[in-house]
Amino acid sequence: MTATGTGMYTPKPGAAPLPRMIAAQAALETKMLLRNGEQLLLTVVIPTLLLVLFSTVDIVDTGAGEAVDFLTPGILALAVMSTAFTGQAIATGFERRYGVLKRLASSPLPRWGLMTAKTLSVLVTEVLQVVLLTVIAFALGWSPQGNPFAVLLLLVLGTAAFSGLGLLMAGTLKAEATLAAANLVFLLLLVGGGVIVPLDKFPSAAQDLLDLLPISALSGGLRDVLQQGAGMPWADLGILGVWAVVGLAAAGRFFRWE
């Protein structure tokens, strides 16, 4: 039974090639996310339910045109927020709490490699979400307009902005506080970020402020392109860009690994 003297443990150290490490890390992170019931509720069930419910039942006045054309861009923005911000913040917060980040920090995988893997995992999840929500939206009669490249740019910048904010929260607050705050922010931004409730329902003073939120910029920008067929929504891209730079810089500066 014991392997004394077999040379089984004779040292032969070495790091795996970097791309292989990052791919393995991204695969594991994605698997953990897809296995977690609460995360699936947040990233898949809630956006799907909201899309179907509000498209088929006339609860909110979404203005002229088909409800699904108004709602789909908002729900896509919500999907990005649920994965890049809420999901990533909660998962990373608990990884920090349970020493996963600490343990990985002494593995051959460099920190930036871990962060790259996290980003890849977020992007893979978002692709799955967008495919699912797009299929459902088409089934509900969605007719999108506009430039797909502008849509892609909005989604990528939105992901960067929400990732920065999510990691900032996960790297500075206690895991329980991150859990509570990330869910609360998700809920508030769901209501006040133009996801399903048009921003012009709010008083105009509040509207000016709400317009500056990353979720409003993302949902508004997507709606301008997909519903109205607008070109590049520069103002919204600009707002997302500022949030991305500020959020990622702050996360880089204040993130604590333990």
């Binding site: 443990y9 004779t10 953990m32 990884e95 020493g99 002494s106 593995s107």
Partner: protein
């Protein structure tokens, strides 16, 4: 064999706010198994975590396998294996999944199935980490530390809370690591563990190394030993004491049960038995107790409770 040190710490100082956790600590660990002992709060974990690259020294130098754990961490990390005191695993991952993942981060990992079998982790099956028993979690953390075939592993209290079987399995693995040329830095609260496994023991208290040597050296050096015997009650202990060397003490602990404390050597034993012969006493149950590492530890670090 005993060539360059695997760990060399010189004048290490580490403070957390106003509290000095490590206070000018010097430590040299060579190939083999080095046990780091110390009361809670003595600075063991801080010292080890500085060697692992988790903390930056406030002053002093640390070299692990000749490298600076902070500045040359990229080169060092593939060569060491780390077992944290707890955690370090995704709560939703399965034991084999996490172990396979850590293996993938290394160029020449161990055979994961063999390691799982060796540490009895096969029974974990599809259970996720948070539902594993404490012993299973510990063994998984140990497996993660060795799977990359490192030259040096750091084990922070590897058998805390394990049942005797799991503890034996862990000891056997540590012995095999040593046989195969892997060096081990082990922190532990179990003195028998250090006695059983370590080539070298360093005792840390208040942020400094206060004693270092092989378990035999530490038990022999300075520490006093005990001789016990039984005889009829009420012997003249004062007369016995006069026959003994000056630094010895003697006492009747309970009626008929005697204890001599001092440097117990063959000469002293002869002195005690000849004193008994002169006084017509038949010393029964005569025994010499070598001091254990635990006695040495308590002698050096005191008996009061720590935080």
């Amino acid at each position: 064999m005993r060539s360059d040190p695997v760990v060399q710490v010189q004048a290490l100082v580490k403070r957390y706010g106003a509290k000095t956790a490590v206070d000018g600590l010097d430590l040299v660990a060579r190939e083999g198994v080095t046990a780091v002992l110390g009361p809670n709060g003595a600075g063991k974990t801080t010292t080890v975590e500085t060697c692992e690259g988790y903390r930056k020294p406030d002053s002093g130098t640390v070299r692990v396998l000749g490298l600076d754990p902070v500045g040359q961490s990229r080169d060092l990390r593939p060569r060491i294996g780390v077992m944290l005191q707890s955690g370090g695993v995704y709560s939703g991952s399965r034991a084999d999944e996490m172990l396979r993942h850590v293996a993938k981060l290394h160029a020449h990992p161990l055979d994961v199935d063999a390691l799982i079998e060796r540490l009895g982790l096969g029974s974990c099956g599809r259970t996720t980490y948070r539902r594993l028993s404490g012993g299973q979690q510990q063994r998984l953390a140990l497996a993660m530390a060795v799977v990359g075939r490192p030259e040096l592993v750091f084990l922070d209290e590897p058998t805390a809370g394990l049942d005797p079987q799991a503890r034996r399995a862990t000891w056997d693995l540590i012995r095999d690591l040593r046989t195969d040329g892997v060096s081990v830095i082990l922190t532990t609260h179990y003195m028998d563990e250090a006695e059983q496994l370590a080539d070298d023991v360093a005792i840390i208290d208040a942020g400094r190394v206060i004693a270092q040597g092989s378990p035999e050296e530490l038990c022999r050096g300075g520490a006093e030993n005990t001789l016990r015997f039984s005889g009829r009650p009420g012997l003249d202990v004062g007369s016995l004491l006069k026959a003994l060397p000056a630094d010895c003490s003697a006492a009747e602990l309970t009626p008929g049960s005697y204890r001599v404390v001092g440097k117990i050597d063959p000469q002293l034993l002869a002195t005690v038995t000849s004193w008994c012969a002169q006084h017509g006493v038949m010393p029964e149950k005569i025994s010499v107790e070598r001091h254990t590492l635990e006695d040495v530890f308590l002698e050096l670090t005191g008996k009061e409770l720590r935080s």
